[in-house]
Amino acid sequence: MKPTDIAAPDYFHKVVDCQWACPAHTPVPEYIRLIAQGRYSDAYMINWKSNVFPGILGRTCDRPCEPACRRGRVEETPVAICRLKRVAADFKDDIRQRLPRPAPKNGKRIALVGGGPASLTVARDLAPLGYHCTVFDADPEAGGMMRTQIPKFRLPNSVIDEETGYILGLGVEFKGGHRIDSMKSLLAEKYDAIFVGSGAPRGRELDIPGRKEAAGNIHIGIEWLANVSFGHVDKIGKRVIVLGGGNTAMDCCRTARRLGGEKVTVIVRSGFEEMKASPWEKEDAIHEDIPILNYMVPVAFKQVAGKLIGVTFQHVKAEYDAKGRRNLVPSGDPDQTIPCDDVLVAVGQENAFPWIEQDCGIEFDKWHMPKVDARTFVSTNPKVFFGGDAAFGPKNIIWAVAHGHDAALSIHKMLSGEDITERPLPDVQVSSQKMGIHEWSYDNDISVDKRYKVPHRDKVVALKDIRAEVELGYDVKLALGEAHRCLNCDVQTVFSTSLCIECDACVDICPMDCITFTDNGEESDLRQRLKAPSLHPDQDLYVSGDLKTGRVMVKDEDVCLHCGLCAERCPTGAWDMQKYLIEMTHAGSTCPTKSRSAA
């Protein structure tokens, strides 16, 4: 293998698994260290800059970071990154003084369609640069699906108000209760750019016999959740069936439990393990006495004179064909009718753009989705950008934020007369963490604690009040314990070939047997000759240049604890622990447009 090019920003970025997995690339270990130091406001601001909604995401994020967390490869569970984010939001001081000031207007006007996380992120990035941003939303308040679809017992209004307020306070104009129903007329208003962040607002239908006749007791999940959110709906039947296995289904069933549903059941087509809902959301539902039945396909709504009495299901089993694709085939068991009073249908969401006319210069593909560039988020109309669920279908908040940042950068570059396809590299700072012979500026003593549980409100109390938040969040002590579980993966092991005397001290001390000195070879060959087996080929090998004996140093990044013992035991300083702080390029960051390499 060739010596690893550690100057390429992606190399060490990838080692910080959580940050690499996060769509917005939030510097996770950096803010966790600040939480451990009690610097909650600083931790919050790092998050705010990167993911815009720390308090909201700290409660609701889909957490792509956690399955990626290195800790999960070292012991059973990853660091509770998401809930630590909430700690920063819960314990911060008043941070309003740290927010950007509304800037003098630069005369350029941006229209943002939809007041959800994607649009608000674009506004957050562009308003401080002087753009006049106008956000349109059909609902009276900002927040989009964060406000309408996520139940209040998971995400209180106060948190949404606070964090949307920070953005609107930057001089962003918000036009609530103002539905945009014609792209053509919006284009006619001569905005300099238009961003569409209108989400995936339509719940998928379930067109099976009885649907029309029993319509009064069959509700589309996201619409029903929105109605509950606005107070239009405040009760449901005693026996409720929720169809669907995603997070919306989990929100539906738990909401139903709080509105009078005594016997609420979730029924899914697939197997329990394959459900789209996050594992922790399934756990929370089961904890609230909601059974989840699997491998059952709804075939008919049973009704008597327009009143729903039950749902009939066919039992299926999974079969895999030669290509490993799964098919659900009838298991042969007789169909089963489960009695119920109401059904909530949460079988997916769809995009819908009836308001975009055909002659707007915006092309759609065969799935009726706009043709959007995955890097710049521009549509086929160079002034119209898409982001969030509106761009590539339903995902989650953190993806919408990531899209928003990239779209804002595109808009800023376009309106500055630059090429939007040229994307500046992230800003990388590297600094040695050495403080003394055996002292480091980070806590390298590895905690062996297991993941701390987040305290929950008593179930009886929680189920009585639909607005009572179930999760209470970590207190300071629990947060400190959990923060110590972070392995500081951003403090990188940096190797200098020329200083190494091949004494083997690092090999001997490494608790994870990450380091091997051996003859060079192809990657597949080297992976066979490591001191400990290479379990994850997607984790990089860090390879040095040729050493004096002709061998090379190979480090498998996979399970490195970043404890720094290699550097402590190195007599020549060939190993050093250096913090790599990678900040993604946002609109208006000082980074020059010309690509530059890391230090």
Binding site: R73, V74, E75, H438, E439, N444, D445, I446, V448, I501, E502, C503, D504, A505, V507, D508, I509, P511, M512, D513, C514, A532, P533, L535, K548, T549, V559, L561, C563, L565, E568, R569, C570, P571, T572
Partner: protein, 351 residues
């Protein structure tokens, strides 16, 4: 010196030996030696050898004297018996322990000061008696704990860190061990674990006095130009006569050796050593030849390493002395005090 304890976590894919232990289970406390010390690599090699042999830690007694090297038993086999004795007195403590309980595996760990100066006599007599032990000298040629004076194994003409030339003749412990009848004699280098680990494993399997001289560079005081015990010097002048693999159990010998290049040595404990010859003329069963070979190469400035001599049919001290097989602590009262009839008979034999 490191302030944090070595993290408890280990690589999830670590292999376990027959006893279900990983090599991490054979570790001791974290080393307090200087960063990069060759001794730490010897420690790691002992850990690796014991792990590979699936040795039960409670069956090992590790005994040492005084010095940097003699601190190391604290850093391996944390669940074994240990005795950190007086300077240079490891061999007699080990001999005594062995006499009392022949069932344990004895690891004597010493340094060039401990064995070639203050304990030179002790070293000589334990070898001469054929005590069943693995005697490892961690040889760096300097007194590290007192800031780098030449030790008795420093080569004549080598330079100290401050530039002083050594005018005394060196003691070659390997030559002495050969002369005094050690039945397993080897030399190795801390920077070459692929050679050192099987040597230690083979020495543990050998019944009789096994002696391994391990050149172990002192990073702080003896790793400079002009030193003959530095990483660079030893790598440049290392003349390995053979490589070996230790085969535990009855597995057939791997077939990837060219015919005629492997010599198999059966050991008392049932293990076998597969010796791969590097120097075609070198015969590790020829004591006299080994001594001559060693002297010739030393004169040329070469450091001969590998398994230099082995007598697979060696006897140990217990056989010489015809001692009781049962460890003394397991002898019951009736065998310790067989009664007046036996005493009378014994007395009668002396009349």
């Amino acid at each position: 010196m490191t302030y944090i304890a070595k993290p408890k976590f280990h690589h999830p894919g670590l292999k376990k030996n027959e006893l279900g232990y990983t090599h991490r289970d054979y570790e001791g406390k974290i080393s307090t030696l200087c960063a990069g010390c060759g001794h730490d690599s010897i420690t790691a090699s002992i850990i690796e050898a014991c792990y590979e042999l699936s040795i039960e830690p409670h069956r090992v007694a590790k005994i040492s004297g005084i010095g940097c090297s003699s601190k190391t038993p604290d850093y391996f086999l944390g669940n074994s018996h240990g005795f950190n004795s007086v300077h240079g007195r490891m061999p007699s403590v080990l001999t005594g322990a062995n006499l009392a309980n022949r069932d344990l595996i004895y690891l004597g760990v010493s340094g060039d000061g401990d064995s070639a100066s203050i304990g030179f006599g002790q070293f000589a007599h334990s070898i001469r008696r054929g005590v069943n032990m693995t005697y490892i000298v961690e040889n760096n040629g300097v007194y590290g704990l007192t800031k780098g004076q030449f030790s008795a194994t420093a080569d004549r003409g080598s330079k100290s860190k401050k530039g002083v030339t050594n005018t005394d003749n060196p003691i070659d412990l390997v030559a002495i061990a050969l002369q005094l009848g050690a039945t397993f004699v080897a030399r190795s280098f801390s920077g070459d674990k692929s050679q050192l680990v099987p040597l230690i494993a083979a020495a543990i399997g050998h019944k009789g006095a096994s002696f391994i001289d391990v050149i172990s560079p002192c990073i702080a005081f003896n790793n400079h130009a002009g030193s003959t015990k530095s990483f660079d010097y030893v790598r440049e002048h290392n003349d390995a006569v053979n490589r070996l693999d230790v085969l535990v159990g009855r597995d057939p010998i791997a077939v990837d050796y060219a015919p005629g290049t492997v010599q198999v040595v059966e050991q008392h404990d049932g293990s076998r050593i597969a010796l791969r010859k590097i120097d075609a003329d070198y015969d590790p069963h020829d004591r006299l030849g080994a001594m001559t070979f060693l002297q010739k190469h030393a004169a040329k400035g070469q450091i001969v390493t590998g398994l230099l001599y082995v007598d697979p049919d060696a006897e140990d001290m217990h056989e010489h002395l015809n001692t009781v097989e049962t460890p003394l602590n397991s002898l019951e009262a009736d065998s310790l005090c067989p009664g007046s009839a036996v005493l009378d008979k014994f007395n009668a034999s002396l009349r």
